[in-house]
């Protein structure tokens, strides 16, 4: 089904008064929860379209299929299928989400350089290695914990 937009201007109330909206904002707005607005999509009809509207006042069995489609297009901007189509907006949204999340990492980098205090001596590699030996000497958590993972005969971690 070809989507040919009719030559029409959407219902724009003339400007210069209080309630009017400038284009592209009009009084026509359809959505899935409000599918049939009061005003038709096209209000300014050319002669051919006006003739069609006159014909619409008669019996609808007289209308051809193309005329029915044209009348639909005069009244509504999009079909339900067109109105409810999926979009790729989620890609833009998630891309921006990830971007800002990555920007947070840069902020943390800045904080590491300018805000974090000096690393305590107890967290240096040398201190941690000596502390580990001390815990192993004391046999800390020998049943299921740290010392149970150390092989005291071979002096290495258990595989």
């Amino acid at each position: 089904m070809s989507q040919v937009q009719p030559e029409c201007s959407p219902s724009v109330v003339p400007a210069a008064h209080s309630k009017e909206k400038m284009p592209p904002y009009t009084n026509y707005h359809a959505q899935r929860s409000y599918p049939m607005p009061d005003e038709p999509f096209c209000t300014e009809l050319n002669a051919e379209q006006r003739a069609l509207k006159e014909k619409e006042k008669g019996s609808w069995t007289q209308l051809t299929h193309d005329e029915k489609v044209a009348l639909y297009r005069l009244q509504f901007h999009e079909t339900f299928a067109e109105m409810n189509r999926r979009s790729n907006e989620w890609k833009t949204v998630m891309g921006c989400v990830f971007f800002f999340f990555g920007f947070t990492a840069l902020m943390i980098w800045w904080q590491r350089i300018y805000v974090f205090p000096k690393k305590p001596v107890t967290l240096t590699d040398e201190w941690k290695a000596q502390q580990l030996q001390r815990i192993l000497d004391m046999k800390g958590n020998p049943v299921q914990g740290l010392a149970s993972r150390w092989d005291y005969e071979k002096k290495e971690w258990k595989k």
Partner: protein, 79 residues
């Protein structure tokens, strides 16, 4: 009961395939998301991954991970 729920849930897949057959004509004018959505998503996630891997590993944050398997003990009481 569970059978009915799963049957109804799975019916969604069959219905969607019919709709895809009918909705075969494309939108005429691609919008911003059609043109740039993939690029934005790919570059955003790549930047995020790179930034966080760098922050987690390269700038000197102490995670204090478990010494098991990583740290070789040193003598401590020889001073």
């Amino acid at each position: 009961m569970m059978f009915l729920l799963t049957r109804n849930a799975l019916r969604r897949f069959k219905i969607r395939s019919i709709q895809q057959i009918r909705q075969s004509h494309e939108k005429h004018s691609p919008d911003f998301h059609d043109k740039y959505g993939n690029i934005v998503l790919a570059s955003g996630s790549a930047f995020c991954v790179v930034a966080w891997v760098f922050t987690a590993t390269q700038i000197g944050i102490e995670w204090n991970l478990s010494p098991v398997g990583r740290v070789t003990p040193e003598e401590w009481n020889d001073k």
